[in-house]
Symmetry: C2
Subunit: 345 residues, 2 copies
DNA sequence: GTGCTTTTCGAAAACGATTTCGTTAATAAT
DNA sequence: ATTATTAACGAAATCGTTTTCGAAAAGCAC
């Protein structure tokens, strides 16, 4: 099935390719009569512009690149969901890649996207991204770049984040307000800014409530998984530290903690309270349901895309563009893994 | 930052564009000396072929399209995961779109991908896909097409599926073997083949075990959600039908069922056994953990992509290609929401 | 009819790579 | 020395669209 081109339409009507092109693109210098004829034939032949040619000529691909650490992740798949949907509505398609938390892959994928000449790139950094030359390269190539969620402050570009520090502060305060005196924190890896900020928020909450920080109550995840949560819960239990509250860096870890305490018959939230982070779907359906932090994935995807498209548009018009950092609000979701303070005593 | 072209390399070396192109592409008619010079300069200038031009010239995009009903779904995100990863290794990038279970969107997206001139399309159909002209169009345009998971038998193309009927049969038999006598089935919508096949497998299992089929024990989901599962469980409970087993069309529904029975204090699996389908991550961490069917998402993505790339390659060489249907194996995962038959009595 | 403006059109040059085919120069064969 | 062969290169067409710029045609005023 041969695809229809401008040339064929032109020949059939006995006019030039130029005129056909103009007729289809609302140029003013084509008479109503010929325009109508062109439109009619184009429709009849189901003419579709060859995107390869359009790309080459206009130097834009109407495609954006998206790199995330992992797609099989409720939070990230929500973000991808938002981005794909909104992009489509604005006439852009999305090429998605996942770095699997590997800096090497991330670099390679940036190159792939630049080679493809995408019109812009959205990225949430891997946990192992410690250097930023590959990201700087994007900017140097004049390709708009927006970082979201897992970002670096070292880069001069637009960003969309939540206030991890404040959210963690709120989560910890919720534990304190519900009566917890000795709160353990299962934190994320040492490198990513999120994990650091959440740790700092936890620490600040203790300070503000006159609870002395105890380094031995900090447990550090590598993979941030259910299994690690389960393991640390066991450790907390056997170490006998009278811990009465756990703030976990993310829901799967918190659920691992719950699973362990359920198993050994420790009552949640009566004996120990647990709070997670991110509000994964499953958190509302486990028992007890998990209190957690609402992290607006869909909103984040939407905002990041919006910023990117704005920058793409500005670039196209050769206008200056002011980079922005958008901080989205979070909230504490109180469920049954923590006591609410009406039932404190 | 201006991108380097063949022309610039040619000018700098005082040779023709043709020779530069050939030197970079292992043509035999260029002397070792000039080849070395070209390679060196190309590397120094960080030359990258303009993909727009390459696309136009070679008439291929090295891009494939992927349409799924919903990405925020453990099974589908696993598939996407596999496809993206394997495609990248084979030199293809993936444009992902989601139909949100809408036929209209699905049609539009097929058009978008054809307009983009992707080299092939992978699709899992929406629940509302009752017509197939838009899919036939893909084939008519000579674009390789592979259906996976949610397919239609009406189309002559390659497919990758599981044997839903057998899997459902196995799930139901597991309930029967563990002592259930009266088994309800919460099925999926009436249209998609999967839901039909699972229902048929359930029915066959009853037959083979001399249990008479009772139409009133069939409950039909529309959205296939946790909430529906919860609602139907309530209905089952209030209708007082002495049901001692539930086979749910998919895990979230089963988890809704578990949530309800947990809430009203009915013991699982002692009083009622539950089995789901798909093995979502959360199914292993809820309490009681959910017995379910292992549906190999990653494998499915891998196989579908492999078939697609084979067909793309065959098309490129103008060779005949024999469409295949691959059926992937499933298994019953026995957890704590069903009795295993050692403890039957 | 002359001069002027306004419509309407099309030739041609991009965009950047690939590939066919022809040409020259160098080498081998006779 | 002459012819045949091979090695090395490049001109030019092609992919299909967009857009600039110039030219022809038509309309209008005088």
């Amino acid at each position: 099935m041969k695809e229809v081109t401008l040339k064929e339409i032109a020949q059939e009507l006995g006019i030039s390719i130029t005129t056909v092109s103009k007729a289809l693109k609302n140029y003013t210098d084509v008479s109503p009569k010929t325009r109508k004829a062109v439109l009619k034939l184009a429709h009849k032949l189901d003419y579709k512009p060859n995107s390869f040619a359009v790309n080459l000529r206009t130097q834009e691909s109407k495609t954006i690149g998206l790199i995330i650490p992992e797609i099989v992740h409720h939070f990230f798949s929500s973000i991808v969901n938002a981005i794909i949907e909104k992009a489509e509505k604005k006439g852009y398609l999305v090429i998605t890649l996942q770095s699997n938390e590997s800096l090497e892959l991330e670099k390679k994928q940036i190159d792939l996207l630049l080679d493809k000449r995408v019109d812009g790139i959205l990225i949430s950094l891997s946990n192992n991204t410690k250097t930023i030359e590959h990201l700087q390269k994007v900017i140097d190539h004049n390709v708009p770049l927006v970082l979201f969620d897992k970002i670096t402050k070292l880069l001069n570009c637009s960003k969309v984040v939540i206030d991890d520090r404040k959210a963690a502060y709120d989560a910890t305060c919720h534990l304190i307000n519900s009566g917890c005196k000795k709160i353990a924190h299962i934190r994320g890896p040492l490198n990513p800014q999120n994990a650091i900020d959440r740790f700092l928020g936890y620490k600040k909450a203790l300070e503000d409530n006159k609870i002395t920080f105890d380094k031995s109550l900090i447990y550090t995840c590598e993979k941030v998984t259910f299994e690690e949560g389960y393991g640390f819960a066991k450790q907390i239990h056997t170490e006998q530290k009278d811990v009465d509250g756990v703030f976990a860096v993310t829901d799967p870890v918190a659920i691992g903690v719950i699973a362990y305490f359920n198993e050994v018959g420790i009552k949640i939230p009566q004996q120990i309270s647990i709070i997670g982070f991110s509000n994964w779907f499953m958190s509302s359906v486990i028992s007890p349901s998990l209190s957690t932090i609402d992290q607006p994935g869909f909103e984040m995807g939407k905002s990041a895309l919006k910023l990117l498209l704005k920058e793409i548009k500005a670039l196209k018009k050769h206008k200056e563009f002011q980079h922005q950092t958008i901080v989205l609000p979070t909230g504490v979701i109180k469920r049954n893994s923590t006591l609410n303070y009406f039932s404190k005593n």
